[in-house]
């Protein structure tokens, strides 16, 4: 079998971007959390906030380093793997990425130096301000990169001459139709991702009977925020879905596994879409479910996959199952957060062991949700790279398949080493826990058997990741 350069370039890009997305989705939320802890520390002078701030900053440093280096790779891959993309869309996408560098990257990278090394050199307010600036930088970075990505999904504000996109109206380009929904959805996802890591670490410490005071703060701050953001995400995601229905109906048809647009759509809780037979197997469905969700009427029509020829349809299994994984994660988050609030109200939040155990084991949910969501939105755009303007297959660089295969292998090996070590080190930092003055560990909590605690701790974060 001949090697297909387009497929290899796609696998390579998918691989590097999937690894990359893990870190921003964590650091966007974590930097905001660190800045929040900083502000609370300044306002209350409570040592716990300061200790937690320093603790999470160490973890942030390791994650951020991995995010930066994997991000630099991406910024060059537009040229190395997708040089036709640079020519066709460079006039429009280039400046958006340029603004990301100017408004976000320098800000983050420079003030991170103060956050990591400046504690003894700057007054506390400037130290906390640096944390806030880093957080702002990460959010601005998301702003621009999602603007660029959204333009590729729902391009507006440009005109195409001789196959090349020229900018006409920058405001319309930046604030293209799907951008607000995508930005809100992604930022919220980042905060949820971090929130569940923080909650998991808090739960892990409580189960292990160490860093009790810090763990309580983490758990309460986390549960409180997640109880608001997780349901909010359902609403934002729903709005985003309606937007997608309007601009990329075939993507929605693929998400729903809906073939025949002339009938009301059921919502398939599970099904196995068969692209050849153009139907689903093993359907478990809610009758008229999708019609209700998407059109708010019992018999509303939702576009079907059969309305376009097979070569215009996205890879179905990725989109269909990606969407269901994302939904499952989302509903888990809502349930976990709301139940936490219930326990809090009953004053049982810190000693309901089974609940803490579940929390401590589900630190990864946000990451899986984010990756699944990206699979849905990026696979769902296929076969287009820039919707209706440039097909993925036409965007490829003149690079031979063997080079692509060789560098793909290099990426897999190098990323495998670097990122598994990174996760291992993050886990080590978490095991070590917040440091500072010897803690006044309350006697009230029963100490747990060491073996059990270690097991739970190992399960909680990272060692499998």
């Amino acid at each position: 079998m001949d090697l297909d350069p387009v497929l290899l370039a796609r696998i390579q890009f998918a691989f590097t971007v999937t690894f990359h997305i893990i870190f921003p989705s964590f650091t966007i939320g974590l930097s905001a959390y660190i800045a929040t802890l900083g502000v609370m520390w300044l306002r209350t002078d409570d040592e716990r906030y300061h200790r937690l701030m320093r603790f999470w900053t160490k973890i942030f440093a390791v994650s951020f380093a991995m995010g930066v280096v994997s991000g630099i790779v991406l910024s060059y891959q537009f040229g190395t793997n997708w040089s036709r993309f640079s020519v066709v869309a460079g006039n429009v996408v280039g400046p958006l990425i340029g603004y990301e560098v100017l408004t976000a990257f320098f800000l983050e990278a420079t003030f991170l130096g103060i956050l990591l090394f400046g504690f003894n050199r700057v007054p506390p307010w400037l130290y906390v301000l640096s944390a806030a600036i880093v957080a702002t930088g990460t959010a601005m970075s998301a702003f621009w990169i999602l603007s660029a990505n959204s333009w590729m999904q729902t391009p507006t504000g440009h005109e195409v001459r001789d196959g090349i996109a020229y900018p006409v109206d920058w405001l319309t380009i930046v604030f293209n139709p799907s951008f607000p929904y995508r930005l809100a959805h992604m930022l919220n996802a980042a905060y949820l991702t971090t929130g569940f890591v923080v909650i998991a670490v808090g739960a892990r410490y409580l189960l292990a009977g160490k860093h009790i005071e810090d763990a309580k703060v983490m758990l309460q701050m986390g549960i409180g925020l997640m109880a608001i953001l997780a349901p909010l995400q359902l609403f934002v995601g729903d709005q985003h879905g309606l937007n997608t229905l309007k601009y990329q109906p075939i993507k929605v048809a693929a998400m729903e596994g809906h073939w025949d647009g002339s009938k009301p759509a059921d919502f398939h809780i599970f099904a196995w879409p068969d692209e050849k037979a153009e139907r689903n197997w093993f359907e478990i469905s809610i009758p008229h479910g999708s019609s209700l969700i998407l059109t708010h009427s019992w018999d509303g029509l939702v576009p079907g996959l059969k309305s376009v020829p097979p070569d215009q349809r996205p890879p179905l299994l990725n989109v269909f199952f990606g969407f269901r994984i994302m939904l499952a994660v989302g509903f888990y988050m809502i349930a976990a957060a709301l139940f936490g609030v219930f326990l809090w109200w009953r004053d049982r939040l810190f000693d309901t062991d089974w609940y803490l155990r579940i929390l401590s084991m589900t630190w990864w949910t946000g990451f899986v949700g984010v990756i699944a969501g990206w699979v849905v939105t990026e696979s769902g755009r296929q076969p287009w790279l820039v919707h209706d303007i440039l097909r993925t297959a036409d965007a490829i660089s003149p690079v031979p398949a063997t080079s692509l295969l060789g560098t793909l292998a290099l990426f897999v090996v190098c990323y495998g080493i670097v990122f598994s070590m990174g996760i291992y080190y993050i886990n080590r930092l978490i095991n070590k826990g917040p440091e500072g003055r010897a803690l006044e560990e309350p006697e009230g909590l029963p100490s747990r058997p060491l073996t059990g605690a270690e097991g739970a701790a190992r399960d909680a974060i990272g060692q499998r990741g």
């Binding site: 640079s86 020519v87 460079g90 006039n91 100017l102 090394f117």
Partner: protein, 333 residues
């Protein structure tokens, strides 16, 4: 009518690349000098001297690459595939040395990450030299697309450039250490700087002799009249600066050697620009051939005019904040 826009952008990208070479140059150079440290404490000290800055330094590389995509998308689309392998190798090398900063702190066996730091730094520097050399020797272009072979970049000349850049960065790193550290590390850096200066001069001479001999267009540029009258100060100044650097190293100056090394880099850079301008993809495409449409260049320029001074402001602020020498055994975080 907007003929000047590509010139402004070429200048801006030129500045970004120069900033990158100088700033990341010294911290990559420290990677190259890492194996010569006596013990972990000295390695900590060396790393501590660049730890607050390296992240920001590397961002200039993204600005250089990103700027190329913004202002000259066609050039970006030709250079990247042409330099495919050295670019990917450089990126992976930067991955390893970048994470080494943080991983070294939390790992039990530092030696592995010491190696990753050194190996990544040297390999990244070497790849950058190869890419630079590949640009100087020219890229084959047909119909606005890269049309050469995938190992066109791999010539003795590009390897020479790669080695030259490693030596140059190491010299920057050594003079940085003279300025920013105390004790044995600084003493050793001073003797290393002298050796490296000689090596760098050798490489500069080799590249300066080789390029006009091998590339007709570069010989034309330098040795035709009246160009020759205007250009002879470049090599002369280089020689003067090199002599001054040697003297200041002997006189145990702290700051001047680093500044002088930057001057040497600057002159070498000017030399390269003189050799190639206005070609962005030598020998066929100029900055005007590859420029983005004016609407894109202007949109980006407006932001750059406002943001670049701000960026420079806080970059200077952080260098000022972490001024002074790093002592032996100074704790890391």
């Amino acid at each position: 009518m907007e003929w000047y826009l590509p010139v402004i952008w070429a200048a801006l990208i030129g500045v970004a690349v120069a900033m990158y070479v100088i700033l990341d140059g010294f911290d990559l150079g420290i990677g190259a000098l890492f194996p010569f440290a006596r013990n972990e404490m000295q390695r900590d000290q060396m790393m501590r001297s660049v730890a607050p800055f390296w992240d920001g330094n590397e961002t200039w590389l993204v600005l250089g690459g990103g700027g190329l995509l913004v202002a000259f998308p066609t050039a970006y689309a030709i250079i990247m595939p042409a330099m495919y392998l050295p670019v990917i190798v450089m990126l992976l090398a930067l991955v390893f040395r970048g994470v080494a900063f943080e991983f070294r702190l939390v790992s039990e066996s530092k030696s592995w990450w010491n190696f990753a730091f050194t190996f990544g730094s040297v390999l990244a520097a070497f790849s950058q030299g190869v890419i630079l050399g590949g640009l100087i020797q020219g890229i084959k272009v047909e119909n606005g697309q890269f049309a050469g072979g995938h190992f066109d970049w791999a010539t003795p000349f590009t390897y020479l450039c790669g080695a030259a850049l490693v030596a140059g960065y190491a010299l920057l790193g050594a003079t940085w250490l003279i300025m920013k550290t105390e004790g044995e590390v600084a003493v050793r850096a001073r003797s290393q700087a002298k050796i490296l200066l000689l090596v760098v001069l050798l490489f500069m001479a080799a590249v300066s002799l080789y390029t006009p001999l091998a590339f007709e267009r570069i010989a034309q540029r330098w040795f035709s009249l009246p160009n020759f009258y205007y250009l002879w100060p470049v090599p002369l100044l280089t020689a003067l600066l090199a002599y001054a650097l040697w003297r200041w190293l002997e006189q145990r100056r702290d700051v001047l050697p680093f500044v002088t090394t930057i001057g040497l880099f600057f002159l070498g850079y000017i030399g390269l620009v003189i050799s190639s301008f206005p070609y962005l993809v030598p020998p066929s495409l100029t900055i005007w051939d590859t420029a983005a449409v004016p609407a894109s260049q202007i949109f980006m320029l407006i932001g750059t005019v406002f943001l670049l001074p701000i960026i420079l402001g806080y970059v200077i602020f952080i260098y000022w904040l972490f001024r002074g020498k790093v002592k032996e055994g100074e704790s890391y975080h």
